[in-house]
């Protein structure tokens, strides 16, 4: 059977390797985040899967569910984008733990400047840690941009990586990760969107071409 697009190039073994990168990345992320906020952070081994972009929104509460999206663009040997997505209730909870203050506004969609920058920085740490292990394992240089945060409907946020990735395939590499800070559990996910050239570089440098 002829396969087209990037998903055809992936076997179970590739997914296992990306999962390995994912678990190293999240371990780094948990340590880094724990240092930043001086609280116990745990992140179990993530689930890694290919998800058709039309179904991605279901994993984050539905097309119109309002989420926080942190996006970093990648340059260097590996180019593309990476995102961390979380539900806004989780975002409020996490920000409250870090700021040490409950969210007081009645407006669920409103974030204070302080909450926003906490979310931005947490997302930045999570994404950078993941990228650090990806760079190490693939012997690549990855230069992440500053983080950009948007709070809006899931589909609207996902349209950005989807259109980037839609150029080469109809599926998105989806890394689901749970995180708990002290006893507050929240789930979020990473989306890694390498361009085609970088995608091959990842596969090649992992020695599984």
């Amino acid at each position: 059977m002829e396969k087209t697009g990037a998903e055809g190039l992936f076997s179970e073994m590739h997914l296992d390797i990306l999962k390995e990168i994912g678990s190293m990345g999240t371990a780094h992320a948990a340590t880094a985040l724990s240092k930043m906020i001086n609280k116990k952070v745990t992140m179990p081994v993530p689930n890694v899967s290919w998800v058709e972009f039309k179904n991605v929104a279901e994993f984050v509460g539905g097309a119109e569910n309002v989420i926080a999206g942190i996006l970093v663009t990648l340059s260097g040997n590996i180019q593309g984008m990476m995102m961390y997505l979380m539900d806004i209730d989780a975002a409020h909870d996490l920000a409250a733990i870090v700021v040490g203050q409950e969210h007081v506004s009645e407006e669920r969609y409103a974030f204070t400047e302080m909450e926003r920058s906490v979310i931005e920085e947490m997302g930045n740490i999570l994404v950078s840690s993941y990228l650090g292990s990806l760079a190490g394992l693939t012997n690549s240089q990855i230069k992440p941009s500053i983080p950009f945060v948007t709070i809006d409907m899931a589909n609207a946020i996902l349209s950005v990586p989807a259109s980037e990735f839609g150029k080469i395939a109809d599926k998105i590499l989806f890394i689901e990760s749970q995180m708990s800070i002290e006893n507050v559990k929240s789930s979020g996910c990473f989306i890694l969107v390498p361009n085609l050239h970088s995608f091959y570089r990842i596969i090649r440098s992992l020695g599984v071409e």
């Binding site: 697009g5 097309a63 119109e64 999206g69 950009f148 946020i157 839609g166």
Partner: protein
Amino acid sequence: MVRANMIVVGMADLNVTKSPGILTTLGLGSCIGIALYDGIAKVAGLAHIMLPDSKAIQNNSNKAKFADTALVKLIADMERIGANRRYLKAKIAGGAQMFAFNATNDNLRVGDRNAEATKRVLAVHGIPLVASETGDSFGRTVELYAEDGRFVIKAIGQGIRTL
């Protein structure tokens, strides 16, 4: 919110209906919702396109994903249920820049490029664009009513607009 009588059009998808049907697409970001309407046959069609041009990309089998190919299929599907392309009018929404990137990188301006391509393709097919709300930096849910062609736009924390 999606009501029982609505047909949901997914990302990179399109659909058509006759009056009193309602088409909706949820959370347009950089994508564009292209609404076509024949007010005589009362036939409506809605496409949720993601990229401007099918010819710029190798993996282009999904016609509904691109402005150029989606419009051709949308017109054909509407004609199949009784629309006449001479009476079609268009309304569009979406094409937002969801993240505050430095907008000099062309790849990151996909919202603008989608809007420009959609307008160009409509002109090529001679379909008048009667209303549009594109750009800015927020997501939009749209609803298209086949009974009268009204195009309703909703955004988080904002009022409802009818085009």
